[in-house]
Symmetry: C2
Subunit: 435 residues, 2 copies
């Protein structure tokens, strides 16, 4: 991990959009699913997942049986996490409100859950139970009556017939309250959720991570359904002062770096001593990591120790970086909080190691990446509701304000707008229709 | 306006994406602005707007002078509208919150305004002061410190030298509190807002309506900055029973139809008598409308009177349509509100004519179109804030839950995540590091 002056750091952001070949493949898959429905899903399972799929929907028995295949420590930890995630997201809920005015006018905002949401869960090694909880629970807390999960069936091989789904994923879904699960993955799963097939009714929104095909398919169906933001590689910035424990700082940096060769882990500090210690610690801890290859490449390509002159400079740099995860390993982390403008999740102090948030504390781990914390938020209950404005205007207010409304409409050349008011003033206005 | 059975109505939705030629033109403009900055903006003003632009920024004097060019009735109506819009949106504001737990852990959500927002305002006949208020005021109420407006300079001709901006637009901006205004329009304005030029610093989000070039440019820069949803043609559904006044219903339908030949106005009713009366009224009122050509084409192509068998069927149909605007012209509109799942804005009863909401009552007139009310909301204060999660975990909680966190991390094959916890348990845990 190189130590470089913060002032020399150049911020470069790119957005992954896939090649034209990717895009064409995804378009073709979407069109085929729209045309051929379930049959297309089965054909693609055979082609991509090497699995002959019978029933697309996972049965209640299969879901029940999954519990026998996970160990107690896992189940207990998962339940603890689920309870915390539920408790945190409950606090995000909002109610409809109405403003009742003395004139009789009532203005309001109705907040309602979406009706049906689809959750994409990757298969294979990227099948993360924690991610199932983080995506499904906010939808459940929002009150979405139908949360549907799709996930690719396991490839056949090594004595297994294939078509199954990781029992840990099934248990996480069940713990989150998801009962409707289909064994279908890739762009074809996204197409099925957006347009529906014989077996899968269409949804209003699709969330959850996926590979480039899944991401491009989500982008393509956006507008027909809503989608969550498309996540880039994971990032952490650790802002630390001389009081920080270099062993902890290094371990936290590496916990991001192991995700992905494109992941970015950066230390920002005004302490050269700390910088050098963390640099040495990263090297030392790297050696024994099972995912050493990935983490080392991430650290080499996207990692950095940014040495700054002051805490002020550090804060300004962090706000420019707008990191997905930000740890404040400083003497008084809470005092700094007010100065952090841009970050997905902020971890305060020695005991708030980033994995605490990834897995357990309660706030969501689906966070804005690639600098989008400047304008985006962690996945939350608001992402699973929609609002409607309500206008119940009184006769008194219409008579009082009708002329003003007509003035504005006529200025904009929209005479029919003005007349919708005028016909009412004429019939309801008494004296006023002569005014 | 044809009367057709509701059951036979087939819902078709398409999303406007422009031709490849549009997309290439927009890409070229964006790249040119990134490369040539202000000079590109001036070149495009000459090419597209036929105007030689000097200072890009509108001066304080020009803004001040605009007030002398608008009449008192307009200014007074505009101020009334602005006050109502501000009052309604103030009620949408949310505060940061923290949950302080007995263990010492503190979890929270920080809500902050975006730093800098760009508002696109179309030029010419589509320059609507009401739209300036509806887009700028929620950003102001959210606390965005820098709200910037861009709008194309007027084309030279008929004795005018060009380059000016409609004084009504300038006054609306000033009343909303916008002080930073640039005379630049089209895809080039969107590019300038997203990437910045010598004169225009980049923003975090771009909102506001525009033509196909503006819409495509917004789509292209999404990810670099946030954008609002891209609006389709305007729509209204009037759900009416036999108590409705057919003159009002027809006038309200026409107020949508006059917007655009692609606009859609539909009546849903179980009363054949009302259906026939509204049909006749639409025809009668159409005759004297200045925008008769547009409204007549909209009514012919996208208008319909949908005759249903019952109020239940009407409600189900409305929820399927998910209209941008919904009027409930029924005996007991408030009693129906709870059954309306999907609609951008809901207008209750005789006096809540849609233009009341377009101009004056307070709720936003930027609403989800094309069925997206199933998952989208009116423009609101939430669109101009971002949230960050805050995790301040206590030593007590880390010691109590560290094992569970490591279990979940190791199950997912993320050993470095587990070690970030483990190093802390080892150093801080006392007895526990032997556990």
């Amino acid at each position: 991990m190189k130590i470089i002056p913060g002032a020399e750091f150049k911020l470069e952001r790119e957005v992954e959009v896939g090649t034209p070949a990717h895009q064409e493949a995804v378009q073709r898959i979407i069109e085929t699913v729209r045309k051929d429905g379930d049959e297309a899903l089965r054909r693609y399972a055979l082609e991509f997942d090497k699995v002959k799929v019978g029933e697309l929907r996972v049965s209640a028995e299969e879901l029940e049986a999954a519990y026998a295949q996970v160990d107690d420590a896992f189940l207990s930890a998962l339940r603890g996490a689920a309870a915390n995630i539920r408790a945190f997201h409950e606090k995000q809920k909002r109610t409809s409100w109405f403003d009742l005015q003395p004139s009789g006018t009532m203005l309001g905002q109705v907040v309602r859950p979406l009706r049906r949401v689809g959750l994409y869960v990757p298969g294979g090694k990227a099948a993360y139970p924690s991610s199932v909880l983080m995506n499904a629970i906010p939808a459940m807390v929002a009150g979405v009556p139908e949360v549907v999960m799709v996930t690719p069936p396991a490839t056949a091989g090594a004595g297994a017939s294939g078509g199954g789904i990781d029992p840990h994923i099934l248990v996480a879904a069940a713990e989150a309250g998801v009962k409707e699960i289909y064994r279908v993955g890739g762009a074809q799963a996204v197409a099925a959720l957006a347009y529906g097939t014989e077996s899968i009714r269409p949804v209003d929104k699709i969330v959850g991570p996926g590979n480039i095909y899944v991401a491009l398919a989500k982008r393509a169906v956006y507008g027909v359904v809503d989608i969550d933001s498309i996540a880039g590689p994971s990032e952490i910035v650790v802002l630390a002062d001389e009081t920080a424990n270099p062993v902890y700082a290094a371990a936290d940096l590496l916990s991001q770096a192991e995700h992905d060769e494109l992941a970015s882990a950066m230390l920002v500090t005004a302490s050269r001593t700390l910088a050098e210690r963390v640099q040495a610690e990263v090297q030392r801890q790297l050696e024994t990591l099972p995912r050493k290859g990935i983490a080392a490449k991430s650290v080499a390509d996207y990692g950095a120790i940014l040495l700054v002159d002051s805490l002020d400079e550090a804060v300004a740099l962090v706000n420019r970086l707008a990191p997905e995860h930000l740890e404040l390993l400083v003497a008084e982390p809470h005092a700094l909080l007010g100065r952090i403008e841009n970050a997905g999740a902020i971890f305060l102090g020695t005991y708030s190691s980033e994995p605490v948030g990834d897995y357990f504390a309660g706030p969501n781990h689906v966070l804005p990446t690639n600098g989008t914390a400047r304008f985006s938020s962690p996945l939350n209950v608001d992402d699973f509701v929609k609002k409607s404005s309500v206008i119940s205007y009184s006769k008194q207010d219409l008579l009082a304000n009708g002329e003003a409304i007509m003035t504005l409409a006529r200025h904009e050349g929209l005479e029919a707008h003005a007349r919708a008011i005028q016909v009412r003033l004429e019939q309801e206005g008494g004296d006023r229709d002569n005014g």
